[in-house]
Symmetry: C2
Subunit: 227 residues, 2 copies
C-alpha cells in the first residue's frame, strides 16, 4: 500500500475481549493472568495486537478463537481506550470488544491451556490497567441493550423453558423480576414460540419448551420490549 501519510507517528493498537459467560444462573467473565511483562501475574482480560492487514473486528475474532476456540459469535465494540500511560509496557491504544456466551456450550481445554478462568462477575479480583473500566462500560452497554435486542437467546439452547429464560434475563440485569409479569411480556412477543415439547429434566412437573423464531423477529420491526 502506498503511504500518503509519511512522518506521522504510529502506535500499537490492541484488542481486548470482554467475554461474559452464563453458568449456574450467574454471569461470569473470562479472565487470565498476564504471562508477559510488565504486570505478569496480574489478572487481566486477554487480548492481542492488531495486525496491519486485519480489521479491528477480525483481530478481536482471531484472538477470541486463539484463546477459546470460539468462533462465529456476535462481538460488539465497547470503545477505544487510549490514555498515554494505560499500559506501562509501551504506548498502546486498545479497542475493547464484548461477547456473551453460554459457558457450557464450549470446551474448556483451551482455556486451561492458557490459564483462563470464568470469574464471578460480582467478585472480580483487582485487574490490570484499565480493564476494570472496560468491563464496567461493557456491562452498562449490555444492560441497556437487553431492552432493545434479544441477547438472552445467545445464552440458551434452541429449546428452553421460560424459567431458564427468566434466569438469564435476571443475571444480565442484575436483579430479580416478577414471574407473572415476565411471562405476560413474553406472551406478547410473537417471535418466542411455545412448542409442544415438555422438559422433564429440570422439574418434576415438567415445563413447556419455547423457541426463539429469528425470522419472525427480523420481519417484525416493532421491538419495544424488555428482554
Amino acid at each position: 500500500m502506498t503511504e500518503f501519510y509519511n512522518g506521522e507517528e504510529k502506535l500499537l493498537v490492541a484488542v481486548d475481549s470482554i467475554i461474559f459467560g452464563f453458568k449456574d444462573g450467574k454471569l461470569k467473565l473470562l479472565i487470565g493472568k498476564r504471562i508477559v511483562e510488565p504486570g505478569a501475574g496480574m489478572w487481566s482480560l486477554y487480548g492481542g495486537f492488531v495486525r496491519i492487514n486485519e480489521d479491528l473486528e477480525e483481530a478481536a475474532r482471531r484472538v477470541l478463537y486463539q484463546y477459546t476456540g470460539i468462533k462465529d459469535i456476535f462481538m460488539q465494540q465497547v470503545g477505544a481506550f487510549g490514555k498515554v500511560n494505560r499500559d506501562p509496557g509501551d504506548r498502546v491504544v486498545s479497542v475493547a470488544y464484548c461477547a456473551l456466551i453460554n459457558v457450557d456450550d464450549y470446551d474448556t481445554s483451551l482455556l486451561d491451556k492458557y490459564g483462563l478462568i470464568w470469574a464471578d462477575l460480582d467478585n472480580l479480583p483487582e485487574m490490570w490497567g484499565d480493564h476494570k473500566e472496560m468491563i464496567n462500560k461493557s456491562l452498562n452497554q449490555l444492560r441497556h441493550q437487553i431492552s432493545t435486542e434479544p441477547l438472552s437467546f445467545n445464552l440458551l439452547p434452541d429449546l428452553f423453558t421460560l424459567t431458564q429464560l427468566q434466569n438469564v434475563y435476571e443475571a444480565i440485569i442484575g436483579h430479580e423480576v416478577d414471574k407473572r409479569n415476565f411471562r405476560k411480556r413474553i406472551k406478547q412477543m410473537d417471535f418466542i414460540e411455545k412448542t409442544s415439547l415438555i422438559d422433564k429434566v429440570t422439574s418434576k412437573r415438567g415445563a413447556s419448551l419455547y423457541r426463539f423464531n429469528k425470522k419472525a423477529y427480523d420481519s417484525d420491526g416493532e421491538h419495544s420490549f424488555k428482554l
Copy 2:
C-alpha cells in the same frame, strides 16, 4: 518509555471530530474538503493523527482547537473505526469523537481559513470514506442520550426561553413535540429554574427566561426525564 512489545506492528491512529452545531433551529455538521491526497476535494470530517505522547481525547481536543479555536467543551467518544481499507492512503484506525455546540457562540474566522462549513444535517453531501457511518452512529448516540442527560443546555445561552429550549430539543430528536406536554415535563424538573427576567427580543408579548441549575442537577440523582 521502555518497549516491552517488540516485533508487533504499529498503525496510524487518527481522531475524527463530529461537531454538531445548532443554528436557525436546525442541527448542522461541521465538514470541510480534504486538502490532502488521497481524496483531496472530497467532503470530510476533519481529523488528525494521534501522537505518541497524547491521550486519544487530548488529540481530539487539539484537533478541534486547531481548526475551530473551540476548547473546553464536552467531547464524547463515538467509537473506533478500523477496517483495513477504510483509508486508501494507509492503514489508519480512527477514533471518532463528537461534540455539540451553538454555532453563534463561536467565531468563524478559523473555519474560513480551513474551508470548513456548517452543512445541513439532513442534506449532507457524499462523504469521504466511512465518515457517513461515523456520523450516523454519533447521531444515534446523541438521540439516545438526550433522554438521560441535559445536552440541550450546551446549545443555549445561560438564560433561555422555553420555546428556545423546545426548538433545540426538537432539532436533536428530529421531530416536533407538543408544546403543553413539553412544558409540563419542564415544570417537574427542579433544576430548570424560572427567573423573573423577561425576554422581549423574540416576541412581542415577552417570554420568561429560564436557567439551568447545574448544582441542583448534580445533586439530584433522579433524572428519568426526556430532554
